[in-house]
Every structure is written in C-alpha cells, then in structure tokens.
C-alpha cells in the first residue's frame, strides 16, 4: 500500500514569534494543512494524530498533554513521538500501512526563542555519567568536522562553499530567514565559533510549526490530483558518543539503505536532496551517508550539487538558510521537498534529517510525485 502526503501547512520560520504561543503556532499550521488537503475536518476525517516534541525543549514535563487541542486531536487517538518530525512521518506511514488509519496527521512545533538557557538544555542530552560541562555546545561538531576533514581531505573552503550555496539557494524560499548573497571570503574571514566552524557554518535556531496530512493511496486519490508519494522511509540510530563512528554518518547509511529498498528506487533517479545541514560539513557527510555521492567534497567542488549538476542538494536553502527549528527540522526539509515536487522541478527527491548534537539518529525518506 502506498502512502501519500495530501496536505501540508506551516507557520513561523522566524527567529522570534513572540506574538503567538506554541499552541497558536500549531493551530495556524494545522489550519493551513487541512485547507491544503482539500478542507478536511480533523474531527471527522482524520483517524490518528502524531505530535513530535521533547519535554526539555518545551520547558514542560509531559509536554504531550498539549498536543491534541490545537490540531483537532482531542478525544481521538493522539500520541507523541519524542523525536524529529520525520520520525513522526515514519510512524504515520506505519499507522496507515498497518491498516490502523486511512488518514493520519503529523505535527511538530518548536519555539527555541523561548529557551533562555539553550547550552544547559543541550548539555542535559549528554549521558549524565559523562556530562562534560562544555562551555561551547558546538564542541562535538567541531571534533567531528575535524575528523571529516581528515578522512576526506576536505578544507575550510569546502565547508564555506556549502554555506554560500545554501544561503544563496534560500533566497528562493519564503521561509529562509537567514538567506543571503554572501561569498567565500565572508565565511572564511569570520572568527571560529569552534574550529573549524564559524558562526556562518552553524545553522541558527528558528521558531516554526509544520503539520502534514498523510493518507492511504485510495483515500489520497479522493482528496487530491497531485499527491506526493512517500515511496520509502526508515530511521536508524548509531550508538552512543563513545561507540558511534565520528566523521561517518552511519545512521544515514543504515536508514537510507532500508528506505531505498522500500522505495525500490535506483539512486540515479533521485534528482534533488533535502538533507540536514545543521553544520556545513554535515551536508557533505550526509550526502555520502545517503550514497548520493562517493566523494562529496570532489562533487561539491565540481558544482555537482548545484542546479544542473548530478543532484541538487538543498535547492531551497537547508537549515543554514532557513534556520533549525529543533524537532521541526525534518518536516521543514520535507516541506521544501513537497514544494519542489509540486512545482514539477523534479520527480523524485530524498529527504534526510538528523536530530542534532549529541544524537546519532537519522531518518531518510524517498518522495515522488
């Protein structure tokens, strides 16, 4: 059975959304998604609801209490997946494929502008036995970026190229608060936040909410003439910091292998990739983890990730241009992919999300029109 995206709605993608609460953001995104899906009524047309969020980001213990009302999920089968929104899509696909639901709604929201102590919150995600008290939350990314440079003979200029490409691509995206027309020198001349990464190599946080309406094939055909199909989706977790392979995105390798199998796709058919670029080097690492390139550094230098190249990578800007909305990150990449497919620019795309430091979990989806 195939599963389709029949509606998608978003709100925010701004550094600060002080005029709305997180619940109002959810509501705004949900209304838009239901309208996009052909004006469905969540109270009668939707079978199950999934919300993706984490307690510590919300500042609420048992934050899922607040999931149902703004999306129409009260007194319905509503649940929370404490993970990236793309993991929620994976669960939604399982709801439909298992026969549990015809229509499932997946929601995620993030309001990092409310978090006054981001460094401390991120530190709480480290194993309590080994919490390092790092003053710089990006230290682990710095370590990994260095390892990546050594493994792939990458240079600082390569990372800067990713930044320039994505920020420029973001100029085409109405959600890209951090899009700009900068050049390599602009990046290379910045001070290091943590070697070898400058503040421009690191995506900034952004407030956002995204709601996605999924439907089984039969139902999707009733709601829309232009469904976006989820051909394959899978997630994988590597291990702990001590045992994961720094420099290699092993989680992407495992997840993409399974997602491609499920989608029965030949990688060459994929013409666009919307991949996590929380840090500039991560885009290159993830492109390799997804088997979209044997040598991402070389392909980047040769312009293969630009329009007209082998595969467009983050053609609508990625997190470096749009910002990183915590658990909405995966859905923001999916949203870009859906828009790109609906515009008819490409027929098939891959979406790949990572949960950010200090985790080693990735989700990969193959979508087509």
């Amino acid at each position: 059975m195939k599963v389709a995206i029949v509606g998608i709605g978003w709100y925010g993608f701004r550094p600060n959304t002080k005029d709305v609460s997180f619940r109002e953001m959810m509501f705004e995104a949900a209304v838009r998604a239901y309208e996009d899906a052909g004006n469905i009524n969540p109270r009668t047309d939707v079978d199950t609801f999934i919300s993706c969020q984490e307690d510590f980001w919300e500042g609420i213990a048992i934050s899922d209490e607040f999931a149902p009302d703004p999306i129409g999920g009260a007194m319905r089968p509503t649940m929370t997946v404490t993970g990236d929104g793309l993991q929620g899509i994976l669960h939604g696909v399982m709801h439909i494929k298992s026969g549990l639901a015809n229509i499932t709604v997946v929601e995620s929201h993030a309001k990092p502008s409310d978090i006054l102590t981001m460094r401390d919150i991120i530190e709480f995600a480290f194993d309590p036995m080994y919490r390092v008290g790092a003053k710089n939350i990006h230290f682990l990314a710095g370590l990994e970026a260095l390892k990546f440079m050594k493994l792939r003979n990458a240079t600082r200029e390569d990372f800067a190229k990713v930044v320039v490409k994505n920020k420029r691509n973001g100029l085409k995206n109405p959600r890209a608060s951090y899009a700009s027309n900068i050049n390599l020198e602009d990046v290379l001349e910045r001070e290091y936040t943590v070697y070898p990464l400058t503040d421009l190599d690191i995506s900034r946080f952004v407030d956002a909410a995204v709601v996605v309406v999924l439907a089984s094939e039969e139902i999707a055909r009733k709601y829309t003439d232009t469904p976006i199909w989820i051909d394959g989706i899978y997630s994988a977790t590597d291990s702990t910091i001590e045992l994961s392979e720094l420099g290699e995105a092993r989680y992407m390798k495992i997840a993409s292998k399974e997602a491609y199998n499920m989608a029965k796709v030949n990688i060459r058919e994929i013409k666009a990739a919307f991949v996590d670029d929380t840090y500039s080097y991560k885009e290159l690492q993830h492109v390799e983890g997804l088997s979209l390139s044997d040598n991402a550094v070389k392909d980047l230098r040769e312009g293969e990730f630009e329009k007209g190249g082998k595969i467009e990578v983050n053609p609508l800007g990625g997190h470096l241009a749009k910002g990183r909305p915590l658990e909405v990150s995966g859905l923001s990449l999916l949203l870009d992919a859906v828009e790109y497919l609906r515009q008819g620019v490409v027929d098939k795309a891959v979406v790949a999300s990572w949960r950010g430091i200090p985790t080693f979990t990735g989700v990969v989806g193959v979508v087509s029109r």
Binding site: S21, D47, E54, D55, F56, G59, I60, A61, I62, D64, E65, F66, A67, P68, D69, G73, A74, M75, R76, P77, T78, M79, T80, V81, T82, G83, Q87, L90, H91, V93, M94, H95, I96, K97, S98, G99, L100, A101, N102, I121, F124, A125, D127, P128, M129, Y234, S235, A236, T237, D238, S239, T240, Y251, I254, E258, M262, R355, T359, F360, T361
Partner: protein
C-alpha cells in the same frame, strides 16, 4: 477509525522485568538492558535478531536526561537499528506495545523490542517536584498545584457522584497489595486491612498514603514479532488482538472527573479491533492502571467491564479477586508491585501476557483465561492506552 480487516497478526513471545524498587543502583540504561536480556532469553532470540526498538519513558526530568529516548537507545539494544520513543505521559507503558504492534503489523519490522524504563528516585526531594512543571505555563503553573491535589479532586468527585465510600475504595489497595505477595518483582506487597488504609497518613483528603502507589525505579521489556516468526520460536504465542488510545483535551478543569470518557474511547477502539462486543463477558483477566486505588475502579468502569458506579459493588462481591470471575490486577498492580511510571504500564501488559501463556507462577489466576486486557493512564488525567491479547 478503520476496523481490523487486514492486519498482519502480531504476537508476543518473550518478556522481562527488573525488580521494582526505590533507588535502584543501576543506571537507566542498565535497568533497561536487564529487562531486555530477560525478554530476549524468554523469546529465544539474540539482540542481533531484533530489527526495531520502541522505547517508552515518562517525563525526561525523572531521569534528568534530555532526549531520553536517544539516551536509552543503547541500553535498550537499539544500536544501529530503527529506534523510536513514544510518549503519552503515564499511559506510555501500554503505548509501547501498541506502537510495537504497528511496527510489525505495518510490515516495516519483523522482530521488535518494546522497552519501558523509569527511574523516579533521582528526582529530589521527590518526583512531585517534576510534576510541578506539567501545568499550563501561563494559567496554571503560577498557582503551583500539586499533582495529588487534582487526584484528590477526581477521587472526591468519583465518590460523590457514585455515592462510594472510602471503605469501598480501600478494598482495592487491600486486594492488590495482597496479590503482590505472589509477585517476585514487587516493591510494596503487604497483607493489610481496610482499617490500615483508613488510618494511614492523609496526603490530600480523601487520598491517604495507602491509597497510593510508591515511587519506584524499574524497567520492563517485551519481544513482539510477526506471525511467521512467532510460529518458529514458540508453540504458545500470545496474540495482540486490539490496541487503542485516546487523549482528551488539555483543559482538565472542564471535564466530568467522575468518569474517564477518554478511556471509553480508547477501549472502544481496541474492542472494535479485537471484535469484542461485551467486554464484561468476553474478557477473562484485566490489569487496569491503579496508581491510586480509586483509579482501578474508575478504569474498570471506563473499560465498560462494569457500569458507571458499579465497580465498587462488584469488587465487594469478589468479582475482581484472583479467584473471581474477572480477576483484576493479579500481578498486584502499581499499588503492590510499584510505580516506575512507564515501566509500570508495560509490567501490566507483561502480567497479562504471562497469564495467557500460563507462566505467571503464583500470580496465575485460578480460572482458565483466553482473553486479557492491560490499560494505562496519564498526562493531565487525559490519556488512556489499552491493549487486548489472546492466547
């Protein structure tokens, strides 16, 4: 909601529990692994055979870890596999096997570990301090409510609407703590009387100390597989026949607290899937969630095992005793075994699994059983999860 027309059959073939205790020395990861190891042993599988892991744990603040699913992944055997953590507050323990069910039923996974862990003891001075942060940050948090206050309101309302006495309710605590004497994992087993409950310390009237379950650490795990796998590994699989869950709205102050309508919805979903039309006739053994003694009665009514207000009468008649018509909480429940929040719900599911498999030992109910049900409850008194199993 769709009905069960073409689900792949899904079975439980192994389960494991740690002791439920206050202040376990093991880390959360070690607790999870102990339960997983036992579940794998019972199933006859190795970790390498598992393709997906579903984790459940209640507020992150109990363990003091952000992104707790990621943290628990390693101890739960989720290395280089598909791992997810699901969360519906206190109802998480039953949401974990429900989620594992659709992992298999969807065809995405064949052999799934369902793991729930909770360490409540690191919260100092008491887990109640974590519950201070479950409220609406604008309208409720400034009042600094205590969780027991709202349960006291709910218990009071249940007693008032249905004309139920404290003595009627205390019988649940007496029954469950006594049942727990047969449970080797139990933390709070005891031979107490109704009088002991009524004389125990008043926390918030009408909630007294022996009306409540203790603060606990513990973990539980199940191996949940497709039909093909189950047939290869065991002659006595226990089938998951129905799953259901519902969240009511967040505004608990606007609800009729005397009856858990969200549970009725969750139960109807599970019953429809399992083809159950008369739950009080068709279900042989139940494990309703009992963090407080009144909640077991409340939930028995929400599950439609008894009519509204009728559960205390049936309890007094012995219907829910271990040798009664519908034994309830033969494990000893949360009141007797302990309440490591998410692990407690999975413990209840495991209890039903062992009852249906016939390996519950001294906990085994007297009559033959073929259909069993476990249930959990949580969030702002708004979430319920239900699982129906058959042998």
């Amino acid at each position: 909601m769709k009905t069960n027309l073409y689900f792949r059959r899904v079975a439980v073939i192994g389960a494991g529990l740690t002791l439920f205790r206050r202040r376990m020395l093991e880390t959360p990861q070690e607790l999870a692994w102990e339960a997983v190891r036992k579940a794998l042993d019972e199933a006859g599988l190795e970790l390498k055979d598992i393709d997906c892991v579903v984790i459940g744990s209640a507020p992150d603040a109990f363990d003091g870890v952000h992104m707790k699913g990621e943290y628990l992944a390693h101890g739960s055997g989720g290395v280089r596999k598909m791992v997810s953590r699901v969360f519906v507050g206190g109802a998480t323990g039953v949401m974990v096997p429900n989620t594992a069910w659709y992992h298999v039923a969807s065809g995405l996974c064949e052999k799934v570990l369902a793991v729930a862990e909770e360490k409540m003891s690191p919260a100092r001075p008491h887990p109640q301090s974590v519950f201070r942060y479950i409220w609406d940050p604008i309208t409720e948090k400034p009042l600094n409510p205590n969780l027991i206050w709202i349960f006291a309101m709910e218990m009071h309302r249940y007693m008032y609407v249905n004309k139920i006495t404290k003595e009627d309710i205390a019988l649940v605590s007496v029954k469950n703590k006594k049942n727990a004497l047969n449970n080797p994992y139990a933390q709070a087993a005891a031979n107490i009387t109704v009088d002991d409950v009524l004389k125990s310390e008043v926390l918030v009237w009408p909630v007294q100390l022996l009306d409540t379950s203790p603060v606990s650490d513990g973990a539980a795990a199940m191996v949940i597989v497709s039909e093909d796998v189950a047939r290869r590994y065991t002659d006595t699989p226990v089938w998951i026949e129905g799953v259901g869950w519902t969240l009511d709205n967040t505004e608990w102050t606007g609800r009729e607290l005397a009856y858990p309508r969200y549970l009725e919805h969750a139960a109807r979903m599970a019953y429809k899937m399992a083809g159950i039309e008369r739950p009080n006739k068709e279900i042989d053994v139940i494990e309703p969630y009992d963090p407080f003694d009144y909640k077991e009665l409340h939930h028995i009514e929400g599950l439609m095992i008894a009519r509204r207000g009728e559960a205390p009468k049936l309890l007094k008649e012995g219907v829910f005793d271990i040798d009664g018509d519908i034994p309830s909480s033969p494990s000893g429940g949360l009141l007797g075994v302990g309440n490591p929040i998410a692990a407690a719900g999975l413990m209840k599911t495991i209890s039903i699994y062992w009852q249906l498999k016939g390996t519950a030992g001294r906990m085994q109910v007297k009559k033959p059983v073929h259909t069993g049900l476990a249930q959990a409850w949580g969030d702002l008194m708004q979430a319920s999860t239900v699982i129906v199993m058959r042998n």
